[in-house]
């Protein structure tokens, strides 16, 4: 799951418009529900694909 920073405050070091992953937020000990409710982040449509290994197909 990815989240976009929508407030003017940096969240986990990311600025407005930048995208965070659930893992980054969880590693920082953040309460994601509260961050959404307080207007800091919102679910992003951006999907972060894992790196493909050599020979793998899409």
């Amino acid at each position: 799951m990815a989240y976009k920073v929508i407030s003017g405050r940096e969240v986990c070091g990311k600025k407005q418009g930048e995208v965070l992953t659930s893992k980054e937020l969880e590693d920082a000990g953040a309460n994601i529900d509260v961050l959404i409710a307080s207007g800091h982040i919102q679910a992003s449509q951006t999907t972060i694909k894992p790196a493909l290994s050599e020979g793998a197909k899409n």
Binding site: I6, S7, G8, R9, E10, V11, C12, G13, L25, A28, G29, A30, N31, V34, L35, A37, S38, G39, H40
Partner: protein, 136 residues
């Protein structure tokens, strides 16, 4: 080792950088003194360290706008949340350590101030567990 004047400290609450809305930081750590005095010829008390108790005191400048102080902290009242502080908002190092902890948001003052004064909120939150000091 250089002395330091705090001008650009970092404060995050629930991973949100609120540094420019914080006017003071005090990170407290104390250890219970447990007495172990027994009969001896020295006539002195002896002690060992007991439980460690940590807390952080912060003075916020109140701001009710979306995504600012009130919106960030009010929903956290009564919960344990991640807090980090650092002397200078730059790379973590031995001379600029990052202190990370989980604090119980045990108090909050949504409105505080007298006529003509800046609205502020001074809080002391107990730390749940240990403080982690990172130097790299």
């Amino acid at each position: 080792m250089a002395r330091i004047v705090l001008t650009n400290a970092l404060v995050t609450v629930n991973a949100v950088d609120l540094s420019d809305l914080v006017a003071s930081i005090t990170l407290n750590s104390s250890v219970d003194s447990v007495e172990t005095t027994g009969f001896s010829s020295t006539g002195t008390r002896t002690r060992v360290g007991g439980l460690t108790d940590n807390s952080i005191s912060l003075e916020f400048h109140q701001d009710y706008a979306s995504g600012e102080v009130e919106a960030t902290i009010y929903p956290l009242i009564g919960t344990v949340t991640a807090v980090t502080v650092k002397p200078v908002n730059s790379a973590t190092s031995a001379s600029n350590p990052l202190y990370s902890m989980n604090c119980l948001v045990a108090e909050w003052t949504p409105l505080n101030g007298a006529v003509g004064e800046l609205a502020t909120a001074s809080v002391t939150w107990p730390v749940s567990g240990a403080i982690t000091k990172t130097t790299s």
